[in-house]
């Protein structure tokens, strides 16, 4: 079995190589059949990688303990669900998972683009296959998932495997990696289209229209993946945080930031024909940051709570990145003429300028995070001292950056293209601005003394007001014209231009997340050793230790503290924080007791027990729920963006170039990733 899997990977490697040669040769020699065979090769690669993946999954599910990967990532007692998830739980399997997603995306691209983009497609497939070759090299030759355990060249098996780290046995942690991978890998497709359009000097912005939905879906996967990881940290790790600027968290954030910049700046290219070089740079940066992130988690160059084993694959990644970046830079420089801007910036107070600053700041934040993440490596190189930077450092530039972006979220969409008149500024911003000032003064008068929180909440109000006004004005116009109620009018309004109003909803999600983050300085903490029958206080809450119980299951020993909780003297029920100790893994985990309300969370971790004394860590986290609500709104808004607009938008500028709008729209709806 494992030989078949390894063989499949080897064949997939060869056929990917063929796909590149056939596509490029077929394109250059104008041989359609050769191009077609290149496309078929991409489909064959998908079949082969799926076979390999299928064999690995089968071994995991049946517990084939002869295989090193199975033995070190599963055990017999594990539920089937987690055995399946072990596919991406370790180094070798997760790289196979990467390859498999990439091959699936490649196959989708082939199937969706039959009969269009004939000039560009061979290049797209050649680029995707080159990336695939890199990952198949790793899978087939460097870290094969099909290694077997052997003693003196005799294949042996172990009675039971090591299992999955109990901390990871949590639903969000099972879907968090695949979400991130779908994101990481997905950016390869817009990147391939961008480069292909450069190579073939395809007219117009067809690569942007073709990959717009693709990019949005990928961006959504990446964002959801990041936030699932964040939610997992909050609910499982027992320290109550949701972000600690850990290198691996940063690695997932970097491409997301670059992609966010890209999603905004393509609008400049679509509407004004500007920033063409910049968009190329952004999509290339996004893609290479994805590869870089994959590299960072695997090479062991940076110590992190997440890191995989130190392994020899680091140098392969560095080589791939170096070649890829060099080729991209050369290509962009060589095609600068083709990327010439069609209009110029006119005013600082304009939509163009707000996009420009949005991009500048997102890129600056990307650079700051990258710098901070790489600091231990850089400092070791240049001063021979290994120095890491803590979360305080990351927050120092990132909080103001976040607030500035929040500000742009409010003003940007309402600035007019080219230049904005004073009259329109007054109309759009007078009331939100006044409201914001009133709120800021009220918060200060009310005793709030954290400037960032005050500014953040003020801006949240400002942005919310501008968004609500936009919806209100638009739907009132529709409802007056068509005599329908305000709510149906709002649905109609959104449906007419899903990109715009879906975008507002995404912005609203971001605002809600900022509300959640604003609560952070008001966190309250209490740590205490409490005897049975005694009480401790945190914020307005009193916790009385009613009982301490314990027991044992086949998997773990557990300890539960039964707490009677009252708020301001009024009883509000019992909470039961639990700690578990997994026997096989010899590791403890916390089942945190959480009382979630919209205004604040009460969060209790049962840290330790000595005799009849319980060590409790109790926290009050104001406004945290709004972060998760914001994520849901953001996801909903993104879905709205993906719905085709009822009223077709037209881009008069692109007609000049010679590709009709009709084909653009068709192209945009054709490439739609499977969900």
């Amino acid at each position: 079995m494992e030989n078949v899997g390894a063989l499949a990977l080897l064949l997939a490697f060869c056929i990917s190589l063929y796909a590149i040669i056939a596509s490029v040769a077929g394109r250059l020699k104008q041989k359609p059949f050769l191009v077609l065979s290149g496309e078929r090769a991409v489909l064959a690669v998908w079949l082969l990688v799926s076979t390999a993946a299928g064999i690995l999954i089968y071994s995991l599910l049946t517990g084939d303990m002869r295989m090193a990967y199975v033995a070190s990532h599963t055990n017999n007692a594990m539920p089937l669900f987690y055995k399946f998830a072990a596919w991406w739980g370790g180094q070798e399997g997760s790289l196979l998972f990467w390859s498999w997603i990439l091959s699936t995306y490649g196959a989708v691209v082939v199937l969706k683009n039959r009969g269009q983009h004939r000039i560009m497609m061979p290049w797209v497939l050649a680029i995707l296959s080159s990336v695939q070759i890199f990952f198949l090299t790793l899978n087939a030759f460097v870290v094969s998932p099909f290694q077997v355990l052997a003693v003196d060249k005799v294949i042996t098996s172990v009675p039971d495997g090591m299992g999955l780290n109990p901390l990871l046995q949590y639903w969000a942690m099972v879907i968090h990696p695949p979400m991130l991978y779908l994101g990481y890998v997905g950016f390869a497709v817009p990147f391939a289209f961008a480069m292909a359009s450069l190579i073939s000097k395809a007219p117009g912005d067809s690569w942007i229209h073709t990959t717009r939905r693709w990019t949005i879906v990928t961006w959504l996967f990446q964002g959801t993946g990041i936030m699932l990881g964040s939610a997992w940290a909050y609910h499982v790790l027992g320290w109550g945080g949701y972000w600690m600027w850990d290198p691996v968290e940063n690695a997932s954030l970097l491409p997301w930031l670059a992609a966010t910049a890209f999603l905004h700046s393509v609008m400049m290219q679509e509407k004004k024909g500007m920033m063409k070089v910049w968009n190329m740079v952004l999509i290339a940066s996004t893609f290479f940051l994805c590869i870089y992130g994959t590299f960072l988690t695997r090479s062991g160059i940076i110590s992190s709570v997440h890191a995989f084993a130190e392994s020899p694959i680091g140098k392969y990644f560095v080589t791939f990145l170096a070649i890829g970046i060099a080729a991209t830079v050369w290509l962009i420089l060589d095609r600068l003429d083709y990327l010439r801007s069609e209009s110029e910036l006119e005013s600082v107070v304009s939509r163009e300028s707000s996009f420009l600053f949005n991009n500048l700041v997102l890129l600056a934040s990307c650079f700051a995070v990258l710098w901070g993440t790489m600091f231990p490596v850089l400092s070791e190189k240049f001063s021979s001292e290994k120095i890491s930077l803590d979360a305080v450092w990351f927050n120092r530039p990132m909080v103001p950056i976040g607030l500035f972006l929040l500000f742009l979220t409010g003003v940007g969409p309402l600035f007019a293209w080219r230049r904005t008149s004073l009259e329109s500024l007054r109309k759009n911003f007078q009331w939100p601005g006044v409201g914001m000032l009133v709120l800021v003064v009220a918060l200060y008068a009310g005793g709030m003394r954290y400037p960032y929180s005050i500014i953040s909440l003020g801006l949240c109000f400002f942005v919310t007001a501008t968004i609500v006004m936009e919806f209100f004005r638009g739907s009132r116009a529709i409802s007056e014209k068509t005599k329908v109620g305000l709510f149906p009018a709002m649905v109609e309004l959104t449906h007419r231009n899903t990109r715009r109003y879906g975008g507002y909803l995404v912005h609203m999600g971001i605002v809600l997340m900022f509300i959640g983050w604003s609560g952070h300085p008001f966190n309250q903490t209490a740590i205490g050793e409490v005897d049975k029958g005694d009480t401790m206080r945190v914020g307005a809450y009193t916790l009385k230790v009613a009982d301490l119980t314990n027991g044992e299951t086949a998997d773990y020993q557990w300890d539960t503290a039964i707490l009677e909780v009252s708020k301001n003297g009024k009883s509000i029920g019992t909470l039961e924080p639990t700690r578990k100790f997994y026997k096989v893994a010899q590791q403890g985990t916390a089942d945190v007791a959480l009382r979630t309300r919209l205004n604040e969370d009460l969060y209790i971790n049962y840290a330790a027990r000595t005799g009849d004394k319980a060590t409790l860590q109790a926290y009050v986290f104001p406004l945290v729920s709004w972060i998760w609500i914001g994520v849901l709104v953001l996801i909903g808004g993104t879905f709205v963006c993906l719905v085709p607009s009822k009223v077709a938008r037209s881009y008069p500028r692109t007609e000049v170039v010679g590709v009709s709008n009709q084909s653009h729209r068709r192209a945009a709806s054709v490439v739609r990733p499977e969900q």
């Binding site: 070190s72 990532h73 052997a150 003693v151 700051a368 290994k386 930077l389 060590t615």
Partner: protein
């Protein structure tokens, strides 16, 4: 060029203030990674800088007293006395023989005053190269996973 001048000034202000934010007070955020030997060689700097030092917890060295925990870290036969004075309870994985990382400063008395301890169970998550991790005992003695080293693993 006039209108581009405005853009240039605004950008310079933004980038400049971010650079300032990123560099001002950076020393307070720095943690130096040191071995016990290197820590000894740092001299006076060891007492002013925030240091992360790693090693194994020496067997039978953990002494719990009111308010703090004392133990010895050992690495390559160098022993460092550590006093943990942090607020958070020590992790479950912290025990004799565990690999531990201590964050803190070296006191003038030669005791390392740690404010944070991370520990991982040595046998499980980082087997020495070429040795089978504990819990992965092959049927035949001396079996080694042919991939060699499986270490602290996790999903991405």
């Amino acid at each position: 060029m006039h209108k581009y001048g405005k853009f240039a000034i605004l950008m310079a202000i933004i980038v400049g203030s971010l650079l300032w934010l990123a560099t001002a007070g950076i020393t307070g955020s720095q943690t130096y990674y040191k071995t016990i030997t290197e820590l000894r060689q740092m001299g006076g700097d060891a007492q002013t800088r925030h240091v992360r030092v790693g090693g194994d917890v020496q067997g039978n060295s953990i002494v719990r007293e009111a308010g703090f925990v004392k133990f010895n870290l050992i690495q390559d036969k160098e022993v460092l006395r550590v006093a943990y004075e942090g607020r958070d309870p020590l992790p479950d994985t912290f025990r004799d023989g565990a690999q531990a990382l201590a964050d803190g400063r070296l006191g003038p008395d030669g005791v390392f005053h740690a404010s944070e301890i991370q520990a991982k169970c040595a046998s499980k998550y980082a087997p020495k190269p070429g040795m089978a991790p504990e819990g992965l005992q092959p049927k035949a003695p001396g079996a080694v996973p042919s991939t060699g080293n499986s270490s602290m693993r996790s999903s991405l």
